[in-house]
Point group: C2
């Protein structure tokens, strides 16, 4: 039995593959004292379009530093979809003497191409392992199972990956038997933890002859994450199958446990639903990351995905006849409260202004019933509104939804249905269509506004809270895109967004 | 198959059985829409010495309010060790028409007494269930298994409780067979989650004929907690065994998930170790709660418990010959930095003063090498010291440990061993012997000090952070106890502790 810890590689999904060197040093040194055979450091990759950090590329200085400190065998992994056989010399050539095993993460439908890649890796002098995804679906793809005869002699390990985190121990045993019917290759298992079955599935795999298993400290890894290294070691130690230095194990766990409080990896209701129903958790991770959707919205969206429902409600399109020359878009930031009196005066002094609330956060502060007013209901906002029924009763405006079909489905309170409309399309940005800012700017554009004022979009200090930072990046993108389209958008209070002209609210007042 | 949700009852271990009414209402209404059969509200109990909240006593108005809102069967549980048959009319009489099932939590060694209690409950007109602890040890107690013949006709359900959270699916199956060899009573299972085996053990129990199982929302419950209700429902729903309204399930989960961020229930390395080795998690919960011990200290203490080692190091006792009339005890609070200059003057102006650092937090700020100085190393402080080796090199004082044997074992850096001593006994308080304040006060007393000044014990605002509040309560207790023994203890800076005379530091200076 061998253990592979891939905390840095799989945990990078949460940190964009950047880690503090101090944390990595503490982890590597602690691992030296633990019964773990392989450490997977990260990916090797050709340059990608989006920003991805140090451990996604694993430059040589990084691998040399870890090689010096670690007494373990080291591995890196390649994403099969991004790497071809001809890339091998460039990507792996320099790793001679540094890396002991190259793994290939591969979709079973590309297994033929992966075998060619593996042959090139072997020719370059590295032992190679396959991490093949979606093990729960293999029984339905006999053509993939047939390919497994090619594993003998080629692969050092053939891993079964429970990509959805939805397999049970009996499924593990059945899949092992299925694979064993075609090949004698040493087997591996990589278990996810959506249903908290990572430990029992891994122990079951070991009982059925699997020779190597993966785990990560605190389970850090994409979405719901993995079997926890500390749980596997504790369980195996109690069974006297390994000997564990708990001081070192604690030292490995402590810095990741601290990070987990900020990043909150691990399973939760949406990940459970995706695991139990074999739905990809990539969407869940990005939905959770934005903090825009409640648990119920996410579970509903997964339910819609599972049943191939594109959306549950079609609304009438908003009639924008008449239009308006000025629009005030009200965000959720504190500059709304701080400039409250001035904003009221601005609204009352401009007959032709419409007010768009991008969320329900501040909508009760600026209700002037003589002016057009719109409240955008994105994601979970409809539910939040229900908790403020007194404010809702006094509000006389119109409710706006993004265009149909809405990816997350539609949450619409019964009380507002007869005043609810959807936009026809979003043209002022080319992504982030479900953003409250995008919907508000589109509505302003649909109304024909020539001047658009923003308040309550104060930006966030970057680097502090990853959720706020993700939202800030999204808003910056929308604002930049909108500017390239020649829209006149300005902020009425100081803001951390760049390229957004700031005009003092008070310069607009008499 | 029936499901019992005992979130409020078992979650009370974290909140001292107090819950916001709004949270409870949201939970009860959400449960009405879910495939759960029983809701366990809390305990019924005679008055206890320590404070325990509303849901530990479940007064009638509370049960009536929940009875009105809930469409489910309701249960309460009794702690067998605190309740006798003669208490039944007083405790349960008023519950007629409100409660549908009375459960008894019982240690198997008291099963005979519990059967008498159950008979009294049945005579009072209530169906009764047994929740019998320590199922992992039943195979070694045949006399308990013999008693199970009394269950038929008496118990509505007989629950097997995985108290340590350490049983595996095969153990569940074996224990069911063992119980079935003696009785036909309907069986129940209550699974803990130390090893993340709550789901698989519960599903295994259901497969082997168990008729009712427990779970709690977010797993909230003592120590590592329980099988999560949302996980069980999601798994059963994917298998089409129940139909789940995910909106309602999300509503039940959301407020508890929020609380969990503060209280941090769920498994972690110490709970894994206690589960895997069948060690009680009560100690872990109180050790974790104080934030005084690192993971490694706790794991070491569990290891010592398992191997019946009382402590790993015996130190020489401190020689207090000579003594001193005044002592300054330096805590970890900010008043040390804020009054830094004054404290230096105080020390230099008093030839007969000794300085005791109750922790390593501020020890480098007040090193006057002409004065006696002591640094208390409780719990994890020894490890923390190693991270500050520059400060340590300059420190010329003596290191003080609590009396032998230390419950948590001893962490002592090699560098300080030849300057380390332990106290003979703690007499200035009757509990909290491992508190830095208690050790410091005892040392002051041992030195014969007639005046004891405190700085850096600033107290904490109560009600904000439960960890800080627990520490503040502990310090208040020690200070009160010390005062009853006639010790002259005063604070040199304003403090939130009561009955602690405050003397201005600056009134003591020339």
């Amino acid at each position: 039995m061998k253990l592979l810890d891939c905390t840095l590689r799989d945990g990078g999904y949460y940190t964009n593959w950047d880690f503090d060197q101090e944390l990595v040093d503490q982890y590597i040194l602690a691992m030296n004292d633990l019964p773990v055979d392989y450490i997977e450091v990260g990916y090797r990759s050709k340059p990608m379009k989006n920003y991805l950090g140090e451990y996604f590329y694993c430059p040589l200085y990084l691998l040399r530093r870890i090689r010096e400190k670690s007494t373990k065998k080291l591995t890196i992994i390649l994403n099969e979809k991004d790497v071809r056989a001809e890339d091998v010399p460039g990507l792996l050539g320099p790793l001679d003497g540094l890396i002991d095993l190259i793994r290939i993460a591969v979709d079973p439908k590309n297994i033929g191409r992966a075998i060619q890649l593996a042959e090139a890796i072997k020719s370059a002098g590295f032992p190679v392992a396959f991490n093949v995804m979606y093990m729960s679906s293999w029984k339905d793809t006999p053509e993939f199972i047939e390919e497994l005869v090619n594993m003998d002699g080629l692969a050092t390990y053939f891993y079964m990956v429970d990509s959805y985190g939805g397999v049970y121990p009996k499924d593990v045993a059945e899949t092992i038997a299925l694979v064993r019917s075609k090949t004698h290759v040493p087997l591996g298992f990589h278990g996810h933890n959506n249903l908290e079955l990572g430990l029992i599935n891994t122990l079951t795999a070991l009982e059925h002859g699997v020779e190597i298993v993966d785990a990560t400290i605190t389970g850090m890894g994409r979405g719901a994450g993995n079997l926890k290294t500390e749980l596997l070691l504790t369980a195996l130690s109690a069974q006297e199958k390994v000997s564990v230095n708990y001081n070192s194990l604690s030292k490995a766990v402590e810095p990741f446990a601290k990070m987990q409080k900020d990043y909150e990896w691990g399973t939760n209701l949406p990940y459970m639903v995706s695991g139990a129903n074999s739905l990809p958790q990539k969407d869940v991770m990005s939905w959770m990351g934005k903090n825009r959707y409640g648990l119920d919205t996410i579970v509903n969206a997964l339910h819609n995905q599972k049943n191939n429902i594109s959306d549950n409600v079609k609304l009438p399109e908003l009639d924008v006849t008449g239009g308006t020359s000025k629009v005030l878009i009200v965000g959720g930031g504190t500059s709304v409260q701080n400039n409250h009196e001035g904003l009221i005066q601005l609204i009352s002094e401009n007959d032709d202004i419409a007010v768009i609330f991008s969320s329900s956060r501040n909508f009760s502060l600026l209700s002037d019933h003589s002016k057009r007013s719109y409240l955008c209901l994105i994601g979970n906002e409809g539910n939040k509104l229900l908790d403020r029924s007194a404010d809702l009763k006094n509000y006389e405006g119109t409710f706006i939804f993004p265009p149909y079909p809405r990816e997350m489905g539609t949450i619409i309170p019964e009380e507002v249905k007869d005043r609810s409309y959807e936009l026809r399309r979003i043209g002022i940005t080319d992504k982030y269509f479900d953003s409250p800012l995008a919907v508000s700017l589109q509505l302003a554009d649909d109304l024909g506004a020539s001047e658009i004022f923003l308040i309550g979009f104060d930006g966030y200090g970057s680097g502090t809270n990853p959720v706020q930072f993700a939202l800030a990046k999204e808003n910056q993108y929308i604002l930049d895109f909108c500017r390239t389209m020649g829209k006149s958008v300005s902020a009425l209070a100081p803001t951390a967004y760049s390229n957004l002209p700031v005009r003092s609210l008070y310069a607009l007042l008499s």
